[in-house]
Structure formats: structure tokens, C-alpha cells
Assembly symmetry: C2
DNA sequence: ACAGATAGGTTAAGCGATTAACCACATTAA
DNA sequence: TTAATGTGGTTAATCGCTTAACCTATCTGT
């Protein structure tokens, strides 16, 4: 099994120079003559030497590691990351990875439990940046504010988030577009289905768009048109029972595709027709949406792009050597498929 | 912003002891009196000291990092990880994370490009273990064999994989069950849809099961019943055209749910009925399958469990201090939903 | 009463890099 | 001629922790 990994010392010895010279040539610092460089490179080649990232991290202070944190599912026997329940996260991560990888960074995925000290993780690992996906309790932000590391928050509107990079989508506009679409199809009694609206302004803003469109059409949204559940397939499926029983909406705007899919399932399974008996428009445009039957009409956000932009913001700060705080706001677009129809 | 992070030296000074004493108490080595321990803990508390994992890695030699590598999508403008195309991976990772997290390990996600040196990554990061999901070219295995680190391979039958931990599912049995089910429903001309069969014995073994069931029923599988495409929604959707045009099968066993979903979409979209016009049974039981309409009949493997077991194998080796090679073979089960029916 | 064990600590040498400071020699400028 | 500058290198401290080796004082058994 593996010969001992070569260290910079081995290289230096083999090339007959000091470790400093090896380090300088490796870091492109012009302090070494071409001939010596040549010898050093040959030694490196022969020993198959690769510098230890750990050692570099310790001496340079940067780990080449970007952390991505995902919310943990709040319920269930074995708590897992939301990654397990919503394809959204996989797509997002894939976007991040595509840019970090070619910049030489690796990504660390972690679920965040609200009771653990998030900043400890960041500091102990000396992460070069962190991307926090989704909503977290305020205390977490108080905590990370004190860490001197680039941070991007996705989908976080709360005021205390303005110290960080943010990438989001025009949620209100998205909600507005969704409902506008439904109104144009002749729907009047339109429901809003969402995850918790308390700890997520995202859901609230989508609601605002929903409300605005309704109001413009001279309709006052009623309390009974509002449905709240977990943002999972199961959550959508569960809340669909309510929706069906109450029978007071002809269409719903659902704040997440994944819930929308659960809802549709429930209806179809009970012999109802979608969009015949209920029109539904989702939000996100996760890949699966277009492969459903009916194809899911939804408000699209470019998830991969969201990941890429997040990663690029981190890279920018790393280049700058300090934390900045940009906002990148994606434009949503309406993708009309087959889960909505005229009343 | 952040006060400088406290080091073990600061703690030692504050507690009035040597750094060694601090280190010993922290590592539970019984060499420090209760009173001194008390002082040290108080200093730690006051300084909010957390040991640097980087430094620990350098001196102890283990990084508390587990790498998970995923195949990169072979096509597309912006290459991303398969994570982006198949919910399977998110579920798997979630399973891994649930055990590694409580063991104090973080996971590193990386796409693997065939042209890069995989072992370099592992060694430079000093990973404590790696989990390779899916199929890779043989050269990669030659390479990792020389690394002295726990390794688990999922879904890899090839002979050179026997040096490593493996976790898989009884693929042949799964294929057999799928086809048996179809046969019982009266189907005779049954197709097999798969990703590349060349570089994946998984797909081949599922095929064997398929073939075996057919042969037992006195049916010889024909060349035209075999369909090969990318393992993505799009791949399934694309190959469905062939299937529909040829019109020589009444049912298909599809080696991955994700392709099955694409196929169903294509048929339904063209006014065909599923399972009326074609019965389809998938493989995996990704979560979305049960929320489709029709619900996807499939061969279930417990993906989360697969992730958990993989992680536990790594943990076992780490505990042992050496690489071992177990095999864990999950039993598949048939989940009958609505995408199959009697002929 | 004395050797040997034990309890409780300290010192200092790594782990594998980076980098400021220093040095010797050859050029160049005044 | 002499001081300043540049070239190509080396030495050694440092990053933050672990741990073998060493030390001293007290305790134990005979």
C-alpha cells in the first residue's frame, strides 16, 4: 500500500535546495533561477509531490473550503437534511459546485441544527466562505455576523440579512405573475399554499404578490384561502385534503413545486381532475415539474444559476480579501404547462 | 468584527498551565488533576476556545472529513454533477450525512472528472474516508487502491471492486421481481430500458434478472426489446419515442425511476395511457415516484439506508484503523403502484 | 526506611507548509 | 572607488495542535 506521501522536504532534498526555494517556485514567487526551478519541478514530478492542503491551510490561513448549509427537516424519525426531500437543493448545490470546483475549492455540506453553534463549525474548519440556503432562526445570523468570512444568504429578506451577500428571486413578482395568470384564466377564488410564513419572508413576499394581484382584480383574499404546511411532498399531499374538503377555491398558487406536486397527487388520486377541478401553479421549476402529468405550471427561478451566482459572490470576496454585500435578484418567469386551465 | 480566535496557548496562559495540560484534558487523557481541569475548562469557556480542526488534522493526521464523489454528467453545456439530475443522489447523501454528522465528521461533495487525479484530492485533503457513488472507469480504481484510506463503493460489481467495501442491492433479483410482476400481469413482450450497460454491471445484472424471468416463462428476450439511453429524465423521454414507434413491447422494466418517469411523460403526453398502453416498472423508488400520476410501480431500494450503511462502513474502518472490505447487499422489494396493469 | 510506582505536570519536537529576514556575490551608478 | 541595487538563495520562526519523554513530589509495600 501507498508509499509515504512526499513532503516539501523530500522535494527539497532531492532537488538539492532549501524548502523555501521549493515553496517559492510552487507559489510562483520569482526568486528562483530557471535552472533551479527546472530541477525542482523534476523532483516534484519524480516524487509525485502534491502539497498538503492542510498544512497550507494552517500556514496561509485559508482552507479552500466553502460550506453550504441546508436546513434540517424538522420532523421525521431520522432527521435528515432537506436535501433528501426537495430536489431543489441538489440542483442548487450542483450549481455551486460547478464554479467552486474549477476555482480549486471544495464544498462541505452540512445540515444545521438550530441548537448547535454554527460559527464554531466555520471557525474550526476555517471555511473560506459559507452559503446558507433557506431560512434560519435569527440567532444564527447574530452569530455569523461576528465571523470574518464571506457569506451568502439565499432567500433571506430579513433586515439583519443586509450585512451579507444575498441572492434571491423577485418573490413578490413571482407571486403576482402566478396569480395574474390564474386570474386571466378566469379564476376568482384563488388559494395560497405555503410553508411556514412566520419564519420566512420569502413565503410572505410571495403572498404579497398573490394579494396584490387579487386586490388589483377587485378581490379580497379570504382567510380560508390560506393553507400552511411543511414544504415537502407529504406536506402538499396532507394539506390537499383541506383544500379539497373546503372546496372554496378553484385554483391555488403554491409557494413550492414540491408541495404542488403533492397536492396534485391527492386530487388526481381521488378522481378529481387537474386542472379541471383545480388549477395549480407552483414555484421553483424543479426539473421533475416538467415530467409530471399534468406538466406543472410554475414560476420558474433558475436554480442552477442561483447556485452559480452564490458561489461567485464568495469567490469575489475571497479575491477582495474582505466581505462585501451585494444582492443578486433573479427574475422569475411564468412557465405555463398543463396544471392550469380556464375556469 | 470577530476578535482573534483563541488558541490553545491563550487557554494555557489564562489557566496558568502548559499547553500540554490543556491538550490532555481536551483529549480525555487522564493526566490532569480535577482542580486543574476545572481551571482549564473555565478558561476555555471564558475564551470561547474551540480547537482548530486544521491544526488537529496536521498533527494527528486525520481530517474528520469524508469525501463523497458523484459522477459528472457527461453531456450538457455546463457540466454539473448528477446530483442535479437525479434525486437519488440527494437522498443518498442525506443518509450519509445523518450518520457522519453525529460522529463529528463533515462531508465533502465532489464531482469526479475522469481526467483528474482522484487520489490527489484524497491525499491533499487527507480525507478519512471516501464514498464513491455510481460507476467510474477502471483507471480510477487502480488509482485509489494505492491510497490508504477507507473506501466504499456503491453499486460496483466489477471484480477489481472487491478490495473495497461495497454496498449494493440485489440487482438481479430486483430485475427478476420486476419482470415476474409484469409476467403475472400477462405481459409477454417486455422491454428493458437502461443506461449504458457497458460500464455498469448494475445495469447488466438487472438485465440478467430480466432475462432470467423471461426465460423461465419460456420467452426469449429479443434484441429489439432493449433500449439504452442516459439515466436522466431527458434520457427516458428521448428513448420513449423509440419504444412507442417500434410498438413491439407492452411493458418495460426500466433500470432507473428517473428514466421511467421520462418515459411515462412521453406516452401520456401523446395521448397514450399508462398503464393502459404500456406498463412500466422502475427501479430505486425515489421519493417523487409515489407522487406521480400514475404512481410509479418500482423496485424499491432503501436509498437512505444505503447512505447510512456506507457511512457506517467508513466509521468502522476508522475505528479499526485499517481498511476492510465488507459487502452489504440490500434486498429490493416490489412496490406496486399504478404504472402497471394486466394486459 | 528506602526503592519503586504513581499522580500531575512541563518541555520540546514534530505535522507540512509559508514567508520575513538575512546573506553573498555580481552589477551598476555616481 | 564606493555605495547602492539586484539576483538567487538560505535560515528559522510561525500557523495551532499532539504526544513522547522527562521531571518532581508523594505514596506504597516490605
Amino acid at each position: 500500500m501507498a508509499e509515504k506521501k512526499a513532503t516539501i522536504r523530500d522535494v527539497a532534498k532531492k532537488a538539492g535546495v532549501s524548502v523555501a526555494s521549493v515553496s517559492y517556485t510552487l507559489n510562483g514567487i520569482d526568486k528562483v533561477s530557471p535552472e533551479t526551478k527546472e530541477r525542482i519541478f523534476r523532483a516534484i514530478e519524480e516524487l509525485n509531490y502534491k502539497p498538503s492542503l492542510t498544512a497550507q491551510c494552517l500556514s496561509k490561513g485559508d482552507s479552500k473550503l466553502i460550506g453550504i448549509s441546508l436546513p434540517i427537516t424538522e420532523k421525521g424519525d431520522i432527521p435528515g437534511m432537506l436535501l433528501e426531500n426537495n430536489p431543489f437543493f441538489g440542483e442548487f448545490i450542483s450549481g455551486v459546485e460547478s464554479v467552486t470546483r474549477k476555482a480549486g475549492y471544495d464544498i462541505l455540506i452540512s445540515g444545521v441544527e438550530t441548537n448547535e453553534h454554527y460559527s464554531d463549525w466555520v471557525m474550526r474548519r476555517k471555511l473560506d466562505g459559507i452559503i446558507m440556503v433557506g431560512a434560519y432562526p435569527k440567532s444564527i445570523f447574530e452569530e455569523i455576523k461576528t465571523i470574518d468570512v464571506p457569506i451568502v444568504l439565499t432567500d433571506t429578506y430579513e433586515d439583519y440579512a443586509s450585512d451579507f451577500h444575498r441572492v434571491m428571486v423577485e418573490d413578490e413578482k413571482g407571486g403576482y405573475m402566478a396569480v395574474k395568470h390564474l386570474l386571466e384564466l378566469g379564476h376568482r377564488r384563488i388559494g395560497y399554499v405555503t410553508g411556514s410564513i412566520d419564519n420566512s419572508l420569502v413565503n410572505y413576499n410571495r403572498y404579497s404578490g398573490y394579494r396584490k394581484a387579487l386586490l388589483e382584480a377587485g378581490i379580497t383574499p379570504e382567510r380560508e384561502w390560506f393553507f400552511e404546511e411543511h414544504v415537502t411532498f407529504d406536506g402538499g399531499y396532507a394539506i390537499a385534503k383541506d383544500i379539497m374538503e373546503k372546496q372554496n377555491v378553484t385554483a391555488v398558487f403554491v409557494a413550492a413545486d414540491i408541495m404542488a406536486i403533492g397536492i396534485i397527487k391527492y386530487f388526481l388520486e381521488r378522481g378529481k381532475n387537474v386542472p379541471g377541478d383545480i388549477s395549480v401553479v407552483g414555484f421553483d421549476d424543479i426539473k421533475i415539474g416538467q415530467y409530471m402529468m399534468p406538466g406543472l405550471t410554475t414560476i420558474r427561478q433558475d436554480i442552477i444559476m442561483k447556485g452559480r451566482v452564490s458561489a461567485e459572490m464568495i469567490m469575489k470576496d475571497i479575491g477582495l480579501g474582505r466581505r462585501t454585500n451585494d444582492s443578486f435578484i433573479l427574475s422569475p418567469s411564468l412557465v405555463i404547462r398543463d396544471s392550469t386551465s380556464a375556469l
